[in-house]
């Protein structure tokens, strides 16, 4: 972990990424809310301000009237103008006639101020260091209801301006309130999101902790209920369980094999050692030494044979697992059977056992002939060892109209108990649990046959009837290019 910088830890952490995403989206949302809030507040305030401006302008306009004595001309009573919105910064107003003549204006009316931009009834300007908003009203009729208006009665042009500093202060307050509320909500949601994400990721962390607790000593992997019930974690937990079970199984197999192998190796080593030690126990004649060394050599041979078998088995299994590759050739199966029978003829003859081969035509496979011969040798040797003296063994070869070659070895021996059958192909298995060395072998022959058959994509199975005999059937896929 020392090589991971803080930065990459954050970038590679799901939690950090989720939290960052949530915070970012919340910040965006809050910003949007603040902007929209300020925009609408500003609009509302301005509308209210404009309405007030309009009302005041109209009330100024209402002060223009025809004199009561029906004299021509208009009068304007300045004293009735309503007080300003902001008493410190009085409103500005000017009343004129539509013909352009100024009728009257507020006392503070700034002379020479450009007040009439084109086409707009509302506009802003700055005066006396203050922001002002002005309203221009044109063609305002003179609101004098007492007399019918003369046809060509003049209309009024009115400019009314008031300082907006009050409105802007309100806007500032409103904006700050909105921002404060949004930020508070932002903080709350981020907090909630962090807590939620932590909670949500808890099953993952729990799973990781439990997975970390699995070791070669402790294969127990029990994911928590939360992890089992989390939809996203279900594939992961089940994959882990499957993987661990597989690993455990193969680990146990390896350990068992190693244990068995070590156990099996001990006996030949013990023999060799005892032979040499007994040779050294007292002075001997050179003839005795020679005989002793000869014996030691024989003991050595046995050890070597066991090692070779073990290596062969390992290689067959590696090959089956795809770890080894080799070139295959088209092989006529019956030839390899004959080869195996020839190799075992001395053993069969010594027990007067008759091995018969029957085949219904040529069957070829793509294989290494030595591998096939080895499968047959192991099965046949097993059959011979379990046959009674003078017995008969049938080797049958056919393809049964299937894309598979079937090779059967049938003996008429004592058979194998049903409880034993599943174990006959296990490494170092011998029929009798405290096996008989009289029948020889190391209990590896059938395991090698099975490993080899499986390496060719085939299967091997045993059926047996106690008292009648055993039948071993090998099924190997035929090469489609075979004639």
């Amino acid at each position: 972990m020392g090589t991971l910088s803080e930065d990459s830890v954050l970038r590679n952490s799901i939690k950090a990424r989720l939290i960052a995403t949530v915070v970012l989206s919340q910040v965006l949302l809050a910003t949007g809310l603040i902007l929209v809030g300020i925009f609408y507040t500003k609009r509302g305030l301005r509308q209210a301000f404009d309405a007030a401006l309009h009302g005041r302008a109209m009330s100024v306009a209402a002060l223009v009237r025809y004199p009561e004595d029906n004299q021509s001309g208009l009068i304007f009573d300045k004293s009735l103008v309503p007080t300003s919105l902001d008493s410190e910064h009085p409103d500005l107003w000017e009343v004129g006639l539509s013909d352009g003549s100024v009728f009257d204006h507020s006392s503070n009316w700034p002379a020479g101020l450009a007040m009439k931009p084109d086409g707009r009834s509302y506009w802003n300007f700055v005066w006396d260091g203050r922001p002002y908003r002005a309203l221009l009203l044109r063609d305002v009729p003179i609101l004098d209801q007492e007399q019918p208006k003369p046809i060509s009665s003049p209309t009024l042009t009115l400019v009314y301006a008031a300082t907006t500093s009050e409105m802007q202060a309100q806007l500032r307050i409103a904006g700050m309130s909105i921002a404060a509320a949004s930020l508070f909500l932002l903080a709350a949601t981020v907090l909630l999101a962090v807590v939620g994400i932590r909670r949500g990721l808890a099953p993952l962390q729990d799973l990781a902790a439990r997975a970390a607790a699995v070791s070669t000593r402790n294969w127990e992997f029990q994911p928590s209920d939360a992890a089992i019930q989390t939809a996203e974690l279900i594939p992961l937990t089940s994959a882990m369980q499957t993987m661990l079970a597989g690993l455990h199984r193969s680990f146990a197999q390896q350990r068992e094999f190693l244990g068995n192998a070590a156990h099996e190796l001990k006996t030949p080593v013990a023999i060799l050692k005892s032979t040499l030690q007994s040779l050294l126990q007292k002075p001997r004649t050179s003839g005795e030494y020679q005989a002793g060394l000869q014996q030691a050599l024989e003991d050595m041979d046995r050890l070597e044979r066991l090692l070779q078998w073990m290596l062969r088995l390992t290689r067959a299994e590696q090959w089956a697992a795809g770890a080894l590759r080799r070139d295959l050739q088209l092989v006529e199966v019956s030839n390899t059977c004959i080869e195996a029978m020839e190799r075992l003829r001395p053993l069969a003859d010594s027990r007067h056992i008759n091995v018969e081969l029957s085949t219904d035509g040529a069957i070829c496979l793509r294989a290494d002939p030595e591998d096939l011969a080895l499968i047959w040798v192991n099965l046949l040797e097993n059959a011979i060892r379990h046959s009674p003296e003078g017995g008969k063994i049938d080797v049958t070869l056919n393809h049964d109209h299937r894309p598979c070659a079937l090779v059967c070895f049938e003996d008429r021996g004592s058979g194998i108990a049903a409880s034993e059958l599943p174990h006959v192909f296990e490494r170092f298995h011998r029929g009798d649990p405290s096996r008989s060395r009289e029948t020889g072998g190391f209990g590896l022959g059938l395991a090698i046959a099975k490993a080899l058959a499986e390496a060719y994509g085939g299967t091997i199975r045993a059926t047996s009837t106690v008292g009648q005999g055993t039948r071993m059937t090998v099924e190997l896929p035929m090469d489609p290019t075979c004639p």
Partner: protein, 223 residues
């Protein structure tokens, strides 16, 4: 002393037997399967039994249980290829007296066998002294009054057996049973030959006779 070796690995059994005969001066019988082993163990008075665990027919553990179950007392030294504590504990609890894991050292096997015999006979020291007689069971050397007495292998066997039970009367049959293995013809008169040989070599020229004949009963080593 007579030892039974129950070991299905014929070569190993032969090597053990040879070593016990040559270096221990024991009579050795070999059984190569559990059934024979149990039968022999129960029908002969062995002084120690060396038992392999992986045996055909009856495995070593069952043999041990049945042997102890029928009340036999002979010490049993188990030869095992398994080193796990559990299996060793189970063995000892089933009545084994000691164990050795394969591959073992023949010298150690011999020493443990001797130790088991000594303990069984109530002679904890490898050096047996009786009056002025001194028997070193490790070197198989005998001295009387400090001077070496040279005995034949069979004379030594007889003396060692008697010396393990000083004072007790040992019958001729018992001697035959403990000093000979299956393959020997058993003639009771050969015992008399060994006894007279022992007497000549040990007692002649000495004021005190050690080897006594108790007529009708047997022999005894007495002061």
């Amino acid at each position: 002393m007579r030892v039974l070796v129950v070991e299905d690995e014929r070569r190993l059994a032969e090597n053990i037997a040879k070593s016990l005969r040559e270096s221990g001066g024991y009579a050795v019988d070999v059984a190569t399967d559990g059934e024979d082993g149990l039968f022999m163990a129960e029908s002969n008075p062995y002084d120690v039994i060396l038992l392999d665990l992986m045996l055909p027919h009856i495995d070593g553990f069952q043999l041990l249980q049945r042997f102890r179950g029928s009340g036999h007392r002979a010490p049993v030294l188990v030869l095992t290829a398994r080193e796990e504590k559990e299996s060793v504990v189970a063995l000892l609890n089933a009545g084994a007296d000691d164990y050795l894991t394969k591959p073992f050292d023949l010298g150690e096997l011999l020493a443990r066998t001797k130790a088991l015999i000594r303990r069984d006979k109530g002679q904890p020291s490898p050096l047996i002294t009786f009056n002025d007689l001194e028997i070193n069971t490790v070197e198989r050397a005998v001295r009387r009054c400090g001077s070496v007495v040279s005995l034949t292998a069979m004379e030594y066997r007889v003396l060692e057996y008697l010396a393990h039970r000083p004072g007790a009367v040992v019958s001729k049959t018992e001697l035959l049973e403990h000093l000979y293995d299956y393959n020997w013809e058993k003639f009771s008169n050969v015992i008399e030959v060994y006894i007279s040989g022992l007497r000549r070599k040990l007692d002649d020229g000495s004021s005190q006779q050690l080897i006594h004949t108790i007529r009708g009963h047997g022999y005894a080593l007495r002061g």
